[in-house]
């Protein structure tokens, strides 16, 4: 058993709406599982449920062998250190009035990492270098950065607590294609260096394939197909996966 994350028959409900319906998934340490589907399929709700950001109506989420579903207080805070999130729009998750360095130092402070301001500042500088940013920019504010740089900041902040799992919800969807490629390479490099596991949520199968070892296809709250990225993209079994694949404007097929 080297599964880091086990999602067992998880349902998420919003009133009468069942956004996630009895979903089961496993994710091994250091692995990337792509979760692909269209708007409203429940992929983001599932991602939030994995991080205990959304209450689970049924089933359970196991992390490192322990259930996170009922975690509270100090135990929940401990879990948060190990499982972090990267969002589509990092600008929306950064405080516009706080320098990006302070935003990272705050995370460390809240979780009691780093004995002094100086050590926290050094750690923030190190994180900045890890994600390919100039540490001299730590004093700048979010609006002074481009979309790609802001996503690097979002990743740096998520890495600050040295998590074992990152849930990345459409992290490159809002970015230009060349910037997208840079961020994908960065995420892969970080994974190799730290042995992180990713739950990579997206709607673009080509991007999800680029990132993922395995892919789960979600449709109307359920997982309709799971397999290795090659299996799912080259030999899709479920009719919805086939529909999704045939809708992608495939550059190679058009030029063949």
């Amino acid at each position: 058993m080297n599964e880091l994350l086990q999602v067992e028959n998880v349902s998420v409900r919003y009133g009468a709406l069942e956004a996630v319906r009895g979903v089961s998934l496993v994710l091994a340490a250091g692995e990337t599982l792509g979760l692909v589907g269209e708007s409203g399929c429940g992929k983001s709700s599932l991602g939030r449920a994995v991080l205990a950001l959304e209450p689970v109506a049924a089933g359970r989420v196991m992390f490192d062998g322990n259930s996170v579903t009922a975690l509270k207080g100090a135990a929940l805070k401990q879990f948060r250190r190990q499982a972090q999130m990267v969002f589509q729009d990092p600008f929306g998750s950064l405080n516009p009035r706080m320098s990006v360095g302070s935003a990272i130092e705050e995370v460390l402070f809240v979780h009691g990492i780093g004995a002094s301001r100086t050590t926290r500042r050094d750690r923030a500088a190190e994180l900045f270098r890890d994600v390919g940013l100039d540490e001299n920019w730590l004093g700048r504010y979010p609006h002074e950065f481009s979309g790609g740089q802001r996503q690097r900041i979002g990743i740096a902040r998520a890495l600050a607590l040295e998590p074992k799992l990152l849930v990345a919800d459409e992290p490159v969807s809002a970015l230009d294609v060349s910037v997208q490629a840079d961020i994908i390479q960065l995420l892969k490099r970080i994974q190799r260096a730290r042995g992180l596991a990713y739950l990579f949520i997206g709607h673009d199968l080509a991007v999800v394939r680029e990132m993922s070892d395995r892919i789960a296809v979600m449709f109307k709250g359920e997982i309709v197909e799971t397999g290795t990225s090659d299996q799912v993209c080259d030999n899709p079994q479920h009719s919805y996966t086939q529909k999704l694949l045939s809708a992608v404007p495939d550059i190679d097929k058009a030029l063949a």
Partner: protein
């Protein structure tokens, strides 16, 4: 070179010559569009490709002089549309051009639609303004059917928020078609849509070209869309067109370094051998 230009002007629906658009101060302007040439023949789908800030949207907005002034200024160049010198048109002539002959659709249909009027009323507005004497209600129903809305009568009576994103974009296309334009400028029309809905909208655009002979200027950053839909392509970077030609030629054998970089960055669905 000069002869060539004349030949294009005669045959082209649209001929843009050394267009430059500046923003900010006069002494130190931001050259958003910096001496750009492109043209569209009747019935063609032409793609203008580039990343954010490349100047592709500003070039597109310039065609009907929709640049927000005085922040932005068309400082140089010619825009010849159906023989008309667009940059010399009076405001009354410009109003006839906008909407009636050059129509636009944008990325976010929800923000282009007025939330307090029904979809049918908004489509009808263009007909009432530009096509006197036409029976508005019947024409609206015809347009909504033409863009593939399954229940045109119901869609006409709906408010924008009652429609899905894909249906909203179809309604926007219906509105754009209301005055039988010759050119549709589609600025990232599917970027905000799911991939299956995106395919439906792109299929619709191609169908409109086939059935109505509509010319389309497609602004996009997605080279997969370009490869599947466009006859010719212009690649834009930093306000300049760096490469242009038949879509397949440009994408198979890119000559400019930036085009190659863009192609390399496209995530591939299937691993190439």
């Amino acid at each position: 070179m000069h002869d060539m230009g004349c030949a294009i002007t005669d045959k082209a629906l649209l001929d843009v010559q050394s267009l430059s658009v500046h923003f900010g101060s006069v002494s130190d302007p931001v050259r958003a569009v910096d001496g750009v040439d492109f043209h569209i023949f009747p019935g063609e789908i032409v793609a203008l490709v580039g990343e954010s800030g490349s100047g592709k949207s500003i070039s597109a907005l310039s065609l009907a002089r929709l640049i927000p002034e005085p922040a932005g200024r068309i400082v140089d160049g010619r825009i010849i549309f159906q023989g008309l010198e667009v940059l010399k048109l009076k405001s009354s002539e410009l109003r006839k051009l906008r909407g009636a002959r050059i129509a636009y659709i944008f990325q976010e249909p929800a923000t282009s639609l007025n939330p307090v009027y029904t979809v049918g009323w908004q489509i009808g507005e263009a007909i009432r303004l530009h096509r006197k004497g036409v029976k508005v209600k019947a024409e609206v129903a015809k347009l909504l059917a033409a863009v593939g809305l399954p229940d045109p009568a119901r869609a006409a009576g709906a408010y924008p928020h009652e429609l899905s994103g894909g249906m909203q974009q179809r309604a926007m296309i219906a509105m754009a078609l209301a005055c039988n334009p010759d050119l549709l400028v589609a600025d990232e029309p599917t970027t905000a849509l799911d991939v299956t809905v995106q395919k439906q909208i792109l299929d619709l655009l191609v169908e409109l070209r086939e059935k109505r002979g509509l010319s389309i200027l497609l602004i996009t950053h997605n080279l997969g869309i370009v490869a599947n839909v466009a006859d010719r392509v212009y690649v834009m970077n930093n306000g300049k067109i760096v490469e242009s030609g038949e879509t397949k030629t440009v994408l198979r054998t890119p000559q400019h370094e930036y085009t190659r970089k863009l192609l390399k960055a496209v995530p591939r669905l299937h691993k190439t051998a």
